[in-house]
């Protein structure tokens, strides 16, 4: 495992920006999706309960995309992150 850390940009949906000081994107380290998300909630602890359940698993309705692909169809939170990969937390579709 390399010691030079690539930073991954995580795109935060509008309803969660209240917990990221209104940042729309946050750059974090992490070799996998799971590590990147763990680093994200370590930086913004109030985000944690919105993304993870009590056992620390990603909540089932949280949609995470890497390179425009749903991680459910990749390797879940073990999906590796390469240089330049961006991660998006995509909200469900609200009313109307």
């Amino acid at each position: 495992m390399s010691t030079t850390q690539t930073l991954t940009r995580i795109h935060i949906p509008t309803p969660l920006r209240a917990y990221t000081n209104h940042e729309a994107t946050v750059a974090v380290a992490g070799a996998t999706v799971g590590e990147a998300l763990a680093n994200l909630v370590a930086r913004y602890p109030e985000l944690k309960r919105h993304l993870f359940d009590d056992e620390g698993r990603l909540r089932s309705f949280v949609n995470v995309y890497v390179r425009d692909e749903d991680i459910r169809y990749l390797e879940g939170d073990r999906t590796p992150l390469g240089a330049g990969d961006e991660l998006s937390i995509v909200p469900s579709i609200a009313g109307g």
Partner: protein, 317 residues
């Protein structure tokens, strides 16, 4: 286009509507038996089966009412294109009604809407504009506002979030029907908030009949949630037609509970409906369990067939 124009004039001046559109509303009220098991015999839970509307959702009523209001006022004159933002269901209703009446329809919807929804809209012949998934329906609304501001004469923009015909459709529709179907016996009404049209219209009708009927609104418990169709008001663009004072209490439902109830509705009641229906029923059951006697009514908002590609049906992850 000439033909479409002529159709519009006929429709604005004469009743009745074309056959398909006459099937909107008048939905069954079904008693939940197995999910409501364990309740005393004096407590009943009923669900208004709005997913049985021809377009598959409660939004058929609102879409038809807004289109008719537009025809009546002249805002929807021949040749204009109907445009609005949608999470899917209102769009499907507009597209279906538009096809039946010869009205061109353009819809803005977040790009992460399910494939079933996109295909349905395209199959009805609507033009689809996919907006930024990160901004949800709020982004779709902003897109439509900007487009209409640039080209106001081209469009009829019902703006479902701010159109009184939306809630009035339910005031005159489901509200009256629920009173009829329960013989005036309804004691509690429980429904989720999207545009808030359903809750606002039905609650106003029930309160006009008897102010003691308790009306309880339902929202997701968190800003990020999986209850498609419902809004977390605190973090969303609040619809102009929303009247927070109308609800006797505001209930919240966790997505996981909504998913579980949606699965149970399919497997134990034979009701294949969407996640917001699961949220409504979960909240209605909670209300029912707190009662010694009462008739609790809630809404099944849309058909489960438009969620079949979603992963929540099989709770593994």
């Amino acid at each position: 286009m000439e033909l479409a124009h002529a159709d519009l004039q006929t429709i604005s001046l004469t009743e009745p509507l074309p056959g398909l559109l006459r099937r909107i509303g008048g939905t069954p009220l079904v008693r939940l038996t197995r999910l409501a098991g364990g309740l005393p015999e004096t407590v009943a839970v009923y669900a208004k089966a709005e997913h049985l509307n021809p377009g598959g959702s409660v939004k058929d009523r609102a879409a038809l009412a807004m289109i008719r209001a537009g025809l009546r006022s002249g805002a929807l004159a021949g040749g204009k294109t109907l445009i609005d933002a949608t999470s899917g269901n209102t769009g499907i209703a507009y597209a279906m009604i538009g096809a039946a009446l010869g009205i061109p329809v353009t819809l803005a919807m977040p790009a992460n809407a399910s494939e079933e929804r996109r295909k349905m809209l395209e199959t009805y012949g609507a033009e689809l504009i996919l907006t930024d998934p990160m901004e949800g329906t709020d982004g779709a609304q902003r897109f439509v506002r900007a487009r209409v501001a640039r080209d106001p004469d081209r469009y009829f923009y019902p703006d479902q979030y701010n159109n009184n015909a939306n809630w009035r459709a339910h005031f005159d529709g489901a509200g009256v029907e629920i009173l009829d179907q329960t013989g005036g016996g309804v004691t509690h009404f429980v429904a989720g908030l999207g545009t808030t049209g359903t809750f606002t219209g039905v609650a106003r009708r029930l309160k006009a009949f008897d102010p003691a009927i308790r009306c309880l609104s339902v929202q997701p418990d968190t800003p990020l949630h999986g209850i498609e169709g419902l809004k977390h008001m605190e973090t969303a663009l609040v619809p102009g037609i929303y009247d927070p004072a109308l609800a006797d209490a505001a209930l919240t439902v966790e997505t996981e509970e909504a998913y579980e109830t949606t699965r149970r509705l399919a497997r134990e009641e034979g009701l294949l409906v969407g996640v917001s229906s699961g949220a409504n029923v979960a909240a209605a059951l909670r209300v029912a369990r707190s009662l010694e006697a009462g008739v609790v009514v809630t809404i099944l908002c849309d058909a489960g067939t438009r969620y079949l590609s979603d992963s929540f049906w099989n709770p593994t992850r």
